[in-house]
């Protein structure tokens, strides 16, 4: 589904601030893979997502999505096939527009001059009802009135309104309170399972990294130092994971926000 071959990205090359964020990274994802990603501070997790989503072009290497070479495709073209959620719940929806209008944008059905049909509205209602947050009765309200958790849930709904080929979740529950985070996570799991979306999720919760998904990657200094899946992964504890990280990276996992439980 996703093929990264030998991608590299250096920021501010040739200056004192030079930062090699990703170095010669290769990765292959099979359709339906749900990958959790953990790593130390500045390991290149977000850079990896930015490279895949097309926020910038990589310095070298190539990126293929579902057999299509997207290495030089601009972000908005890739976004037709890639859904993305950020840590900041305010980033994924337009606060001054209503819930219905936001969903209509995300649904993207029909031509440029098409209006929201009654059918669309019904579909939006049904999907919103799945969130179990009462948003289906607030479709005409501006999104700015929603709480962070509600907005993140809505963003998730928007990102999967047209099921993407690849879903990128960049610590999308980190800014939410534990209860809401749990809820958003559950919705994530349901949506991903329902449409069998290939998913990559950055998390700083070690427990979550092992419990969710089918495969876990650990990153350090711009590369993947650990890649476990299948049987090897199923019996793993957080402690095993930390040890494996030490073996792979040659140092302790250093992340000031990491949650071990």
């Amino acid at each position: 589904m996703l093929d990264l071959s030998h991608i590299s990205k250096t920021f501010n090359p040739g200056t004192v601030n030079e930062k090699r964020a990703i170095t010669d990274l290769s990765l292959h994802l099979a359709p339906g893979d749900f990958v959790t990603i953990i790593g130390s501070n500045g390991a290149g997790k977000s850079t990896l997502f930015n490279a895949v989503a097309g926020s910038f072009l990589t310095d070298s290497g190539s990126i293929q999505l579902d057999g299509q070479d997207v290495t030089f495709q601009p972000e908005f073209r890739r976004a037709r096939h890639i859904g993305r959620l950020f840590q900041d719940p305010m980033r994924g929806s337009a606060p001054g527009m209503t819930i219905e209008e936001n969903l209509a944008l995300a649904a993207g059905s029909g031509g440029w001059l098409s209006h929201v049909s009654q059918q669309d509205k019904k579909r939006f209602r049904d999907r919103l009802a799945l969130l179990d947050m009462g948003l289906e009765d607030r479709m005409k309200q501006p999104v700015g009135l929603l709480s962070g958790g509600q907005r993140q849930a809505l963003t998730l709904l928007m990102a999967t309104m047209v099921p993407p080929k690849l879903l990128l979740l960049d610590e999308h529950t980190a800014a939410l309170d534990p209860g809401t985070a749990e809820k958003v996570l559950k919705i994530t799991r349901d949506v991903v399972a329902e449409y069998k979306i290939t998913t990559m999720m950055v998390t700083h919760n070690m427990h979550q990294a092992l419990e969710l998904g089918t495969r876990t990657l650990m990153m350090d200094s711009g590369n993947i130092v650990l890649d476990i899946s299948g049987k090897e992964r199923s019996g793993l504890t957080v402690n095993d994971l930390l040890q494996k990280f030490r073996a792979g990276a040659g140092k302790d996992l250093d992340n000031d926000r990491i949650l071990l439980s």
Partner: protein, 311 residues
């Protein structure tokens, strides 16, 4: 003021308000929706006036309207191109285009800074001859302007609720979101500015034809006047559907002209218009900010007094 004079004041305010409300609606699209303060508005208004006047003077009064709107589209396209494809800040892009348009406008008017339409057929004279003999004959100016405003409001209500319109609104409302979505912000900005400037051009065209002349300074200060109207309008009808808000823009333009016309009647000299509009814009933008700052400001003041009192 006697009633007939008052009526005349209202009449003038209505005419001018309606014509200018087209520019306000243009800014409603670019400033309120796309969040771009389009400073090429002055030049574009004059461009519309110049093109409309030249085409009407050449004997094509009907063609003058689409021609002026087309000229506006071109001007908007250049502004949009500068800020999306050439990395020029949106305010600066507007200023650059505005400056360039001064020469363009004089060139359009064949090197002169004034075109007289006293003998030419215009959209207004055409409607007047249509209405000859009916009771509405003397209202022809208002009718033409109202027709243009109704069509523009209807168009905006339709357009801003289409998928393209939603994409344009999202571009202004949350650029971060749009950047990581399948909407191309370059495309939405270009479409938005072209559409907005078409209305600015139309507004200038109607203004020139209603006062039977186009001169190079007809649009100067227009952006401030329109912003003042826009801010008045959104204070009155700032919430609700696009239709309601668009009506608010028209109402704002009318009220602004009404206040101004009354002030003129009270012997305020005509050259004060621009100062008045500047003050309105500054106040309208500053007041919400000051209101927000006021608690801290008042606390500091009373704190200072208390400290002095304690000594």
């Amino acid at each position: 003021m006697d009633p007939t004079a008052l009526l005349a004041v209202g009449q003038t305010a209505l005419e001018l308000g309606l014509i200018c409300s087209l520019t306000v609606l243009a800014l409603f699209l670019s400033y309120s929706m796309l969040n771009v303060c389009d400073l090429s508005t002055d030049g574009c208004f004059t461009l519309g006036a110049a093109v409309g006047a030249v085409v009407a003077a050449a004997g094509y009064p009907l063609l003058s309207i689409p021609a002026a709107m087309g000229a506006g589209v071109c001007s908007g396209f250049v502004t949009a191109l500068l800020q999306t494809k050439l990395g020029i800040d949106s305010l600066l892009a507007g200023i650059i285009v505005n400056t360039g348009l001064y020469s363009v406008n004089i060139a359009v008017m064949s090197g002169s800074s004034l075109i007289n339409l006293n003998k030419a057929d215009t959209a207004f004279t055409m409607v007047r001859s249509l209405l000859r003999g009916t009771p509405l004959e003397n209202q022809y100016k208002t009718i033409v302007a109202a027709l243009a405003v109704i069509l523009t409001v209807a168009f905006l209500t339709f357009f801003l609720n289409t998928r393209l319109g939603l994409a344009i609104r999202a571009t202004g409302n949350n650029p971060d979101m749009v950047r990581s979505s399948s909407i191309n912000p370059v495309f939405t900005t270009i479409v938005g500015l072209c559409t907005a400037n078409a209305f600015t051009g139309l507004s200038g065209c109607l203004m020139a034809q209603s006062q039977k002349s186009a001169e190079i300074n007809i649009g100067s200060g227009m952006v401030t006047i329109a912003l003042a109207s826009l801010l008045i309008g959104s204070t009155l009808l700032g919430r609700g559907s696009i239709f309601t808000r668009a009506l608010g823009m028209v109402l704002g333009a009318f009220l602004f002209r009404l206040v101004y016309a009354i002030a003129l009647r009270m012997n305020m000299p005509a050259f004060m218009l621009k100062l008045v509009s500047s003050v309105i814009v500054a106040l309208a933008i500053a007041l919400p900010y000051l209101k927000q700052q006021w608690p801290i400001l008042s606390r500091r003041l009373s704190h200072g007094r208390a400290a002095k009192g304690g000594v």
